[in-house]
């Protein structure tokens, strides 16, 4: 995982992004972001709100198109994709957990998890139900199968969104601000859940967050996005020793807040 991607990448490396630029209304958001995510690792992209973290990971599933640069997802250069069919083939290998959960609010939690299975796998009804319960059990929500999203708490909605993202057994899971809007205890619980799942399932993950506690818990590798570029990356210890004042400030404030919470 280096800012400058090597010349030759393994064809199935989950993410290899090189020199990615993106502007909205002539306001640059990403100014040459490069990042590699290796198989089986959990990479956390940390940065202030509005730094372009969500925009960047949205490019991995075709929700946002880069202005320039290349992004290879499992070896496919997605910047050359011209049809939704190409994207859909790739999306089957990726689970995406949205910041606001984005559960289908007209469906029960069980139906939300069943949705991708129903549309992509021709499973007998009993097997489908088993798979749904299995996914919900992974996130501790098997009792909420018949509840509507509006009938469960924010933390449970996050976990239901996670269960839906895991429905098709993806090779890569992208978490967009998984702890946003949760109180510190629930945020920690969700973070630990993600960590446990990653350990148990062994898939690759990209986590976008501005919550340093979450980053410390789930991340094998942390990339700090600031002013449209990856300003620093490495493991927690490496980032804590960073000479970049933006990174140091972010860490200092996060540590203060954590210290305050612990007291």
């Amino acid at each position: 995982m280096s800012e400058q991607a090597p010349q030759t990448q393994h064809v199935d490396t989950p993410i290899v992004a090189e020199d990615v630029y993106k502007s909205f209304d002539e306001q640059p958001v990403l100014r040459g972001v490069s990042l590699t995510v290796e198989t089986g690792k959990t990479v956390v992209i940390v940065g202030a709100s509005g730094s372009g973290k969500t925009v960047f990971v949205s490019m991995f599933v075709g929700l946002v198109t880069p202005d320039s640069g290349t992004i290879r997802v499992f070896g496919d250069d997605v910047t050359k994709f011209t049809s939704e069919t190409e994207w859909n083939r790739l999306r089957m290998r990726i689970g995406f957990v949205f910041q606001g959960s984005a559960l289908y609010d007209s469906m029960t939690v069980g139906a939300n998890v069943a949705f991708p299975l129903r549309h992509h796998l021709r499973l007998p009804q009993h097997e489908l139900e088993e798979r749904v319960i299995q996914k919900l059990r992974l996130v501790g929500l098997e009792d909420a199968v018949d509840k509507l999203p509006s009938q469960i708490s924010g933390g449970m909605q996050k976990r239901a969104g996670l269960a839906r993202a895991l429905a098709l057994d993806p090779d890569l899971v992208i978490y967009d601000e998984p702890t946003a809007g949760l109180d510190p205890l629930r945020a920690e619980s969700v973070s630990r859940h993600i960590r446990e799942l990653q350990t148990k399932l062994g898939n690759t993950a990209v986590v976008v967050t501005h919550d340093m506690a979450c980053a410390f818990i789930v991340g094998d590798h942390i990339a700090f996005l600031a002013e449209g570029v990856i300003a620093e990356q490495g493991n927690v210890e490496q980032l804590a020793r960073s000479s970049d004042p933006r990174v140091r400030k972010f860490f200092t404030v996060a540590e203060c807040l954590q210290g305050g919470t612990e007291q």
């Binding site: 994207w87 999306r91 949205f98 606001g100 559960l103 289908y104 609010d105 007209s106 991708p116 992509h120």
Partner: protein, 238 residues
């Protein structure tokens, strides 16, 4: 235009989300049925009330059944039903899709490799096209029944004579154009409501704006389709 082309293409390509289509037929059709039926009945009743005395003045009271029947099947039934569905179902579709857009449920569909044009748009457009002629036919029958009540009570026309006159004067070529133009109403309502929903931005306020715009535009679209499709059908049938 591009949205319409994509929506129509999605409506005729696989996969067809049959379960969602049935859900939409129920939401748009069955749930609008009582309203379109009540309005259809009242329109027939009131139209007959207003017409019966004018016809009597010209000594043409016995033609009430023909006048009411023709007005209902060719214009009043289709247009009132179209406007009700535009307001009721149009608002519902616009608000639902708008809400899904701002809460990123449409993005969630896309990342699960499900085409929102097929799952959301095609099913709703097809449902509108399917239910409008059915709702109109029911409203037509109830409108004629409303006219029959006035004709047999105020107009002193024998019940069977009223029905015989209706049957004699209303031909298939009168009913058919009225039902055919509701297909265009359904297409216009479905497309506009989905388009407006997809364009929603800015949270709950944006959903409210979208819903209002959907109703305005869908009602106007029904009126415009009525003008152009009626003209086209008149040209084709003469």
């Amino acid at each position: 235009m591009l949205f319409s082309a994509r929506a129509i293409a999605a409506s005729v390509t696989r996969p067809v989300f049959f379960g969602e289509l049935v859900r939409q037929v129920y939401a748009i059709g069955i749930r609008s049925l009582w309203l379109t039926s009540a309005v259809g009945f009242c329109v027939g009743l009131v139209f007959a009330m207003q017409t019966v005395n004018h016809l009597k003045r010209f000594g043409a009271g016995t033609y009430l059944a023909a006048v009411v029947g023709l007005a209902i099947v060719s214009e009043l039934g289709p247009v009132f039903t179209g406007i009700i569905v535009a307001a009721r179902a149009g608002a519902g579709i616009g608000a639902e899709i708008g809400s899904m857009k701002v809460t990123r449920q449409i993005d969630a569909l896309r990342v699960t490799a499900v085409d929102p044009m097929q799952f959301l748009v095609a099913t709703r457009v097809l449902a509108c096209i399917i239910v409008l002629p059915i709702l109109t036919a029911i409203a037509d029958v109830l409108g004629i029944f409303g006219g029959w009540i006035i004709g047999t009570t105020v107009g002193n026309i024998a019940p069977l004579d009223y029905l015989n006159t209706t049957y004699r004067y209303i031909r298939t070529t009168d009913v058919f154009p009225g039902l055919v133009k509701t297909l265009s109403f359904g297409l216009a309502i479905g497309l506009l409501a989905c388009f407006q929903g997809f364009r929603t931005t800015g949270g709950t306020e944006g959903v409210g704006i979208s819903t209002t715009l959907t109703v305005q535009r869908a009602v106007l679209a029904v009126a415009l389709c009525d003008v152009f499709v009626t003209r086209l059908l008149v040209l084709l049938m003469t």
